[in-house]
Amino acid sequence: MISSGKDLYLKRVGIWNVWGRNFLVFRKSWIVNLFWMVVEPTFVLFSIGYGVGAFISSIQGVAYVDFFFPALLCLTAMMVAFFETAYGSYSKLNFQKIYQAMILSPLEPKEIIFGEILWGGSKGFLSALGVTLVATVFGHTDNLLIIPALLVVFICAILFSSLGLLVVSFIKSHDQISVPTSGFIVPMSFICGTYFPLEQMPVALKYLVYLLPLTHAVGAVRGILLGGMPWWQIGLHILVLLLLTLLVVRAVQGRISKKLIH
């Protein structure tokens, strides 16, 4: 018999064991991983933020790079988190059969799913953190407001890592991942107030854009870092992010559980 103490212990560590498995594997190839996680957004920071930004004297009263930086944090978190689960979890479920081995242990499907979401989110957050460090080295961020901003970036990463897993629960083959990627993620990366302010959008589109999660992440992070946004508006953006996350996590839990035990 397992004692109730052991049972409690297993409950407590389940999610972290799944997270830890991913961290262990990540450490094996951290140079490659780090490259794609931080170096790529760093290039974007320099080419778009400083490069293209040099031609723009000011935007919403700040330098272009300051306007762009909050969006870059969210974009990085979104991309890394989404691809981590969309590709990574798809392969773990369908090729490597990692989850199928995990459920042979006392781990429960719920713990595997939450562990995976948390891992994808952590990875997205980690790369946004990397970008922040690069920006700090170049004297860009010197403000403690970066801490609450990164917190929102973390929520954004969790949301997109859950969305990646949601995609996994629907697609029938590996190449179908490109459908939500080119149809949703990539377009979103351009229009959610990332490279240019929402005010530039045609009116009809402007309201549509508020339905997209990235808009709220960028809105909140920019509001925190640049100031000038009433606190309730920041709060509203965060609330939308949290509600969406809850919704997606719920859906993922039901759908992926059915793939693990059927």
Binding site: M1, I2, K6, D7, Y9, L10, V13, N17, G20, R21, L24, V25, K28, S29, Q96, K97, I98, Y99, Q100, A101, M102, I103, L104, S105, P106, L107, E108, L260, I261, H262
Partner: protein
Amino acid sequence: MEKSVAIEARGLMKRYDNDVAIGALNFEVLQGECFGLLGPNGAGKSTAIRMMYGSSLIDQGDLFILGLNIKNSGREIRSQIGVVPTEDGLETELSVRENLILFGRYHGIEKNLLHRRCEDLLKLVKLEEYADHRVPELPVGFRQRLVFARALINEPRILFLDEPTLSLDPSARQWVWNQIQNEKAQGRTLLLTTHDMEEAEKICDRIAIMDRGKVLAVGTPRELIQRLVGTQVIELQVPRGDLQYYLSRLSSHNFAFQVVKQQVNVHLKDNDDPQRVMNLVQGISLTLRQSGLSDVFFKLSGHDVRDELI
């Protein structure tokens, strides 16, 4: 002394979409026993064993593992069993040792104990030299040893093995068979599936013969053979046109037989004299041999014998 029951299945049912994969499965496995589910491809062996180790949901019926109801004690059951599945799900980016340690962590085994057990298991399955090798570097047979060690990391009371010798070469097969005997000697209960009659006869104390989601018969291999087909078989190669003639001759002398393609297998009871059959079918080429489980299977499954068993 009465042995206690390790696994009890009562009326287990499972449907995939509208196809019945398992229809009303009933059996008991005693503690310390090596029990085999034997049947051809698609018989429902994997579905049945997956329900037992908790990777498949049960549509109807009850299943008790070590006295615990699988419906509400899944985690507790999984902490006391070990599984060797067909798709191993090993961590290909990690080393042999890391695979074991990781799985031990999922089991919540205390660190020092886990490391000690890991080294013991590496010795047991003779993978010490490979401990730091990554999984893809292992030959298939050694990979299966690692899966074995992983299944033993929590010192399980029951070991579930789904076709443990599938795609192994003869020496790797022999290793698995020996290992199964060792685990039995340690007092563990084993439940395995196989489509290999010889394997079932060799290593199982009792078997359940399955086909199309149903158990056709349960017993020790000897008992099933004795009861259902007798100890000896005479195989007759009968020319196509003469089949009816010989079958009616055999019937009129009350011999039990089974037609498998162009071959007629005559089942002899203990007191039957083979010579009597030989006299009936003079001029036909025949072979006398000991009965095996495949004869039992042919008999049980009737005429629509599946090709892969022949």
